[in-house]
Symmetry: C2
Subunit: 212 residues, 2 copies
Amino acid sequence: MDSLEKIRQQAQKIMTDSKGSHDWEHTQRVFAMAVRLAEKEGADTGIVKAAALLHDVARGAEDASGGRVCHAEKGAEMSREILKSLGYDGVQIEKIAHCIEAHRFRNSKEPQTTEAKVIFDADKLDSIGAVGIGRAFLFAGEVGARLHNKGADIEKTKPYTEEDTAYREYMVKLRKVKDRMLTDEGKRIAEERHDFMVKFFERLDKEVDGKL
Amino acid sequence: MDSLEKIRQQAQKIMTDSKGSHDWEHTQRVFAMAVRLAEKEGADTGIVKAAALLHDVARGAEDASGGRVCHAEKGAEMSREILKSLGYDGVQIEKIAHCIEAHRFRNSKEPQTTEAKVIFDADKLDSIGAVGIGRAFLFAGEVGARLHNKGADIEKTKPYTEEDTAYREYMVKLRKVKDRMLTDEGKRIAEERHDFMVKFFERLDKEVDGKL
């Protein structure tokens, strides 16, 4: 078994209990997108693949701590241990750890390398487009939210309540994602996915009123 | 207050605790669509409006009974009482009750009148298009399902489990809705909404593999 396969197995094992929007399937989608971006941007695919598989290993720790633990920082820490045990050298370990440390949307660490920018973009791309729409409604279902809260003052609605609709998520977060992209290819894909979201929510608005 | 307003208040009160895919907002959407179809199909809008407001009043009773009570039959029964207390005459009451009795997808009673066909179509239209997609993912979130189960044998996956994804709902039910429409205008709207769903799920499939 090559080292990447070993990383995949360890990461998947740690994430067995991760459900919802940051489950193992999210990691698999980020992996596929990161490989695509890495090839286009000329990034080191070995570093990118390892970082993609490991980027959310500390999601469980963050959730269990009620948000006090930062999954990016803690994930980098956990990954250093895993990579060391698999015989990765210090330079590789730090390159991978940097991608994980800097992948968070509200991050204190900015991605410095092409590899870290690729991971950041691949992760954010998974929150928009049809996947983003699906994840937003899925999450709304998990917290018992309504289908839509048309006409509500989005700034005044509350997260993690029945007002926390997919539309709120779109207005507050998802429609801003395209402006945060760091790579050219990420930007291009984000704009295309963004346009689809715009169409979806315009449509939803009209359908709700029986106009389409 | 006119009688329709009184029906609205009573129906909304009964449905206060209805959450999820058949909540009061579903009734409001069905109402808007039913009015639109009624005008196009030359149906009696008075009958249609009353039936739209009342069509799901027995959803709570069906859910509480674990599915033994049929919400269409029971809803017609409850509606007869409500309408009688508001002074509706016997002929009107039976016209409205027929719409409610015959609105179910897996129904034993076929809609016989234009008004009943309009209610049937308006209700089914709310399960497809962007609204249908949103409702399917919302429901998947409620039962703790995954975002997608690409490649799964849809015939073998189980409802009300983490396999009960929006994609399963689409394959098993939603994509067949357009062929069940009973009015011309309903059929036209269903085809347009259907095409959007097809695009959405094709897109979701590609995005999941990082190809779009």
